[in-house]
Subunit: 347 residues, 2 copies
DNA sequence: ATGAAAGCGCTAACAC
DNA sequence: GTGTTAGCGCTTTCAT
């Protein structure tokens, strides 16, 4: 009908031109040993010169197979915002690489975060063999329901109690802990925590933060916990309030690099210096962290590894294995926003 | 065979349970008017409660349709590097959004840049209706061949002479020109250009750069043109050579924000200040440009718009229209790496 | 070594 | 309104 699909070539055409049956063409093109070498050669030449390729839709139907994995990046239905956080974008890139390596196709979908179950459609309709969902957001229960329905599901996010699905994620508790310990080691005692603890990953990081405080004999102060969303413009307001507020602090742990940098700007707008007055630690270690002013001390997430782990977990599920959630190691990268102990001058 | 696909539900199952024929189920689920309201209701209920969804592979085969567009991000076969440039990643995000809005699926593929024609497989095999390729790289001819073969093709990149395919891209000449003019207006006269002119987009930007120089009565100086690739670690070396070299310069136009920031670092390593000694302009206006040290004056590319334009161009092609290449407007965002004329103190 | 025929899960005439 | 039937483009017995 469309100009471009007027008359797609099919096996029957090749068969006719080669003077053989479709079965033979099929066998030739699929490397069966049951074809005469010359016949195969003729068929292959023909196919190549005409740019014929086996119709994978038909092949998959007949073989009842499929090599497609859906990667779902939920969006906030109110904001309908563009995928913007660099971390999510790069993890998608990493998954794309891992899937390509293993010979799978990647379907990239965006779905309303409030209707995560609609992602299951991708599976039910046979479009994809399994689902990778980027982030748990506030939908742990919906994810559990999907898993209960036996939808092959791997979620990038934190490992929670009562979790039926397979998650792969960074060590959030460890990350929060390392960030906090580092600040404490530099002598900071009033440490703020920035991130929306409604999200499991953030909650775990806060748990690490609490643990760090505890180790140092400090009590958490709720006034220093800022529920800033990952969405930057909305976060800024909360950070301005924190910076301008009466509650004093000399350290800050943020749940993304962009959040950390917004905090830096908010602090500067009220004439507080980083790190002199407030030392700041970010999260993710995206490229921005090395170029920013100041360069960020931040918790490095192993993005490259993440894609491979996610895909391996998915392939395990597809093989029918029980795949345990995985937690990937993170480590602190120290830069100038929260430098290591000031070089003790002399001894 | 796999645990998870033991016995996928199909229309026949629903039909049996509902006590009707498959045709009726098909009609009911597809909203045909030729079904009794009650029958439809019963069928729909059943399907919903069993999480049955029409098998799209079979449906597509039967209907000879397909709603999938492949987005191809070429990779360098030598480096086999991860998609890392934030600009490419965000344009992929933008396309994903635009496709979702219009009801299309997006297949994200990576292919060896040296074998771009292999991307055509995605089309020939019917996996995708059309191809979006991110970047022309050095493969203008391969792209032309694909277009000559009537593969529906939209390329993010520059508009070139002798171009058979549809391209969508930022106004590269304009971008290069604006960047250069801005530096000239600040009184800079020795302006370096950083980017691999083997790539069409870069070549066009350099053309704008030359034009800017020409307007000011200046001659290009080949020693100030640095063929730095987008890949950062490789670029750094070239930038260090430039910074340490004997050829003096007081302004610099880079072809990405990351390149600009690497240039800043290279300059600092030889004790040259930005912008005091050298004013630097970046390209793309990624988030990093606002947070970096110094914040970058940079050419803003309309990423959000780009996705929509690319997809609209593709849909035009699929409708059989001739779609002309499109050039999207860019504009300079002035920040501190190349500030506007120093506030003339008094008059 | 090759061809004929059945069927993957679905839709759309065509009957009734 | 609903069922029957013939494919969509392919693979694979089963013959020969």
């Amino acid at each position: 009908m469309r100009e471009s699909e007027r008359k797609r070539l099919q096996m029957a055409d090749i068969a006719r031109l080669a003077g053989v049956s479709v079965s033979t063409v099929s066998r030739a093109l699929n490397g069966s040993t049951l074809v005469n070498a010359q016949t195969r050669e003729r068929v292959e030449q023909l196919a190549r010169s005409l740019n014929y390729a086996i119709n994978l839709g038909a092949q998959n139907l007949r073989l009842r197979k499929n090599q497609t994995i859906a990667v779902v990046v939920p969006y906030d239905s109110k904001a309908r915002q563009h995928i913007s956080d660099p971390f999510f974008l790069s993890i998608v890139g990493s998954i794309a690489d891992a899937l390509t390596d293993r010979g799978y196709d990647m379907l990239l979908s965006r779905v309303d975060a409030e209707r995560l179950d609609s992602a299951a459609q991708l599976f039910d309709s046979g479009k994809a063999l399994g689902l990778v969902i980027i982030g748990q957001w506030r939908h742990h229960d919906q994810l559990n329901e999907l898993a209960a329905r036996k939808v092959p599901l791997v979620v990038w996010g934190g490992q929670l109690a009562q979790q039926l699905y397979c998650s792969v994620g960074g060590d959030n508790i460890g990350g929060g802990l390392q960030a906090t310990r580092h600040l404490l080691q530099q002598g900071r005692r009033r440490i703020a925590f920035v991130g929306d603890a409604g999200l499991p990953e953030v909650r775990l990081r806060r748990q690490g933060y609490w643990q760090g405080l505890h180790e140092a004999g400090l009590e958490p102060d709720a006034r220093l916990e800022v529920a800033a969303p990952f969405e930057i413009s909305a976060a800024r307001e909360a950070l301005d309030r924190l910076a301008a507020g009466r509650t004093r602090f000399d350290g800050l742990v943020a749940c993304s690099d962009l959040l950390a940098l917004q905090a830096v700007q908010a602090l500067r707008s009220v004439k507080r210096r980083v790190p002199a007055d407030v030392a700041v630690v970010g999260y993710d270690d995206m490229p921005v962290a090395t170029y920013s002013d100041p360069p960020l001390t931040t918790v490095h997430q192993p993005v490259g590894l993440a894609g491979a782990e996610i895909v391996d977990a998915m392939l395990g599920l597809l093989r029918g294995e029980r795949v345990a959630p995985r937690t990937l190691p993170v480590h602190l990268v120290v830069r100038e926003s929260a430098p290591a102990a000031t070089e003790t001058p002399g001894r």
